[in-house]
Amino acid sequence: MSSRKKNILKVIILGDSGVGKTSLMHRYVSDKFSQQYKATIGADFLTKEVTMDGDKVATMQVWDTAGQERFQSLGVAFYRGADCCVLVYDVTNAKSFENIKSWRDEFLVHANVSSPDSFPFVILGNKLDVEESKKVVSNRAAQDMAKSLGNIPLFLTSAKGSINVDTAFEEIARNALQQSQADADAFEDDFNDAINIQLDGEPSSCNC
């Protein structure tokens, strides 16, 4: 078991511009919705205390990012150390859905996670509240995609209508916690191994 107790869970929200990343974050953290969010430049973050399985308390750090492609190059530094990555698309925007895979790939390249195959992602299809006729991404297509990317959990949400947001973030928190513990254990293994120590100049990875 891990002696390195990390009580901060770092969650990163990615997705095309305008899919509702900021709205989802605010809905989850402060249970608010506004039509008046501005376009996010760089990144914003909020924190929320979460309790899981009755007794585990952690601080979830939710990072909201800029959606325009070119901003990706700025985000590299803070992808590292993430415990869960949330991929968001807009159910009324086919392109944002098609881009989910690229967002995942980009994340994996930059985040330098220890085992890419098991790193937790969660997909959110947002704007579920809009009228049926405007929806262009079918639930079936979304499920297929989530499955093909390695059985990633999928939630259809509405930040505006407060649909499924809490449920989704509970799952995100659980996954993040697991990942954080797995990382801590791996860290310890590495450490005990005493051969292959590569801290990679990342001060936040050590909390001794």
Partner: protein
Amino acid sequence: MSRNSTTDHFVSAEFGPINGGRPVYLTSKSPSVPNLNETFTEDFKKRLSPERAQSQLNTTSVAEESTNVSLIDLYGGEEDDDEELEQAARNSDVPRSSTNSASADSPRRPSVGKDLSEYDRYGFKKHNAHVSQEEYHEWWDEYSRYCIRRKRKWQDLLEKSGLGSDNDVPDRFPPRSEKLKRYVRKGIPAEWRGQAWWHFARGQEKLNKNKGLYDQLLTNFNERNDKSSGRDLEVIERDLHRTFPENIHFQRQPTDNEEPLMIQSLRRVLLAFSVYNPKIGYCQSMNFLAGLLLLFLDEEKTFWMLVIITSRYLPGVHNVNLEGVNVDQGVLMLCVKEYLPEFWHRIVSKQQSRNNEFLYKLPPITLCTASWFMSCFVGIVPIETTLRIWDCLFYEESHILFKVSLSILRICEQELGIARQNHRVLRNKAPSKDDEDIEIFQVLQTVPKKLLDPQNIFDRIIFKRRISLNNLNQEEIDRCRKYVTSQRLKLKNYADIMGNRPSATGGAKRDLTMGPEFVENALSSEVYGFRRSLTAAHWNNSIKEKVRQIRRK
């Protein structure tokens, strides 16, 4: 990034829904919201296109009303808290606007059911999550008087320079001088800002060289229906309503048949720019720059100012690869290291600090500070503070952005000190590294939003005499930018040669094997040296103190 965009079927298939099914034609130029002065209505009519002017003539009463309401704020600051007055304003405009539906296309008409006293003279909401109503009024009571005093000084200055005019807005300004610089630093009168910015940034020069180009760009755009810029179009369209959603001029009112003129102008400026400069196209944050300019200048001038900002003041910052941002953040980090050493050690490990690795792998806080530069503080600090920064930006160029950033970081540093103290008292131990990192980000995000009073950073930090920041001039910043650019290039080339070839999309930053030796090999020991004077050694050290020290020795 290599997102596979197969076809750009955007114009036909995707543009429609975003824009409510209406095609975008970039035909008529609409007026910007005029300067907020007494001659507003006339000014406004003049700028309107003929058809609009005609319809406007019949319906100006409401617009006048609304202007007067915002004018009360400006030159009757003392009366701002007068309940009766506000009540009167409320009562007078609500019934009017509901009976006068013809006023629907006035951008400055009071909105139905909106309490205008909640909006400032530029149409922004006065208070928000970070600034309470009480705080706002208390500050404005003082600051509005300051504005009036400053305007009188400006009027005197212009008269003495033989530039006094009957018109409230001067068309010429005195030649550059220390005195004028001081005046600019203390704030340009709000209703002169458009003219002054245009003058100091030498906008007319640029426009004269390119007469008619703006209209040409729009015409070309319509004719070509340029598909290559489809991507930009889509992002622009999404950002139009996410620029100043809290500003009354950017809001669509329930009675509106078409979208606000401001939104239309913003669209045209950004589209024209994306065609004009394909290296940049559209970069999020330019919507904030153009949006603010449109509140003070007409569309064409806004366009040219945007060109000037993105080329002269922030070169490369909005380019597709954002390399300019990385360079400027590298420069800022060097400045932090030099001027705020304590803060520096909180954000960068000793190891990274020893060599120049941080210029290449920028510390995470630059994710926050990058947006300060990209949007020139629009939306980062409260509006009056933003405007004071812009006054200096156009007169003194980009080094002011670094000075402002350092001042804000200095305030953050103080806040962090307090937070740390509290943490010790409450939990009886020093905060962990994780806690501290969160704390830093939290402070960086909230402190700027509370900087309601421009004096907090201007008089008390940036332009305080006898502090080292005075040495950080444009020459120094330009030199520093060159240095960082070359260092980053060297590291990148070295990474390429060493076979850690980064993929084309992520830039060299994705190279994960780069350790300290790597950096040292690449750069040997080139260290940037700031030009120092006696006062530059430490923040807040006055010459007197320094001399005293020397004497003691």
